[in-house]
Symmetry: C2
Subunit: 137 residues, 2 copies
């Protein structure tokens, strides 16, 4: 990243210059390309972006493990990258994906990680499990 | 935030306990409740969450201005909160919103901040302007 690129240039530019944070990451939202359902939010570093664009399979950067994370490598729930979009200030990506495997992006076995609705101080579960995590991990 | 809450408890809990980062923030994705289009990614602190739930109008926390940001207060492009969801580890929110005003979430005048597709090293503009920023800010 060139830190000298101004906010205005990032917005108007037709050149992809991801604006990485101080840890070298940008946020990446995965959205089901067919249903429009938002599946998860994770992070990418430069290598994850390059690998995803090159292979067509989504790679993130795992903050907890501090390494490249080929989504679904263990669980089989890989994501085919259909389209990558970038936001106005180029610090967030929107990944339109085809969720492969059993169609579950979430390690709890649900399609989406956003499977609970906030009601006051309570959470109400909306998403059902497509697999049992005990069978997979 | 109670830092003692384990990852497993955050996932299984029916209690809303946002897992704020070291700056007291969680990521918040805004999605158009009707079309499913992802509009923007921003941040919320505890106060922004409370104000959004209480008023039904989305408030974020502006990192650049370091204060509560009632989205659309200047531009009129406010967001009506229809539903708030939380992800498995409770560090990201999904806001299903009705985008009011001219229907543009992005300060560049587009509906979505994700108005450019990545093609190799280039960006291709997909979203058209719903207002001219010069007329608004």
């Amino acid at each position: 990243m060139d830190k000298k690129i101004s906010k205005e240039e990032l917005e108007k530019s037709d050149v992809f210059t991801p604006h990485f944070d101080d840890k070298g990451l940008v946020s990446a939202i995965a959205q089901d390309n067919n249903s429009g359902e938002v599946l998860m939010l994770a992070f990418m570093n430069e290598e994850a972006i390059e690998l995803s664009l090159k292979t067509g399979i989504v790679h993130y950067f795992s903050r907890s493990r501090q390494k490249i994370w080929k989504k679904g490598e263990t669980s089989g729930q890989t994501q085919k990258l259909i389209e990558m979009r970038v936001d106005c200030d180029q610090d967030a990506l929107l990944l339109k994906v085809e969720q492969l495997g059993k169609g579950a992006a979430c390690h709890t076995g649900r399609k989406s990680c956003f499977f609970r609705t906030v009601k006051g101080e309570k959470l109400i579960v909306k998403g059902k499990r497509l697999f049992n995590p005990k069978d997979v991990y």
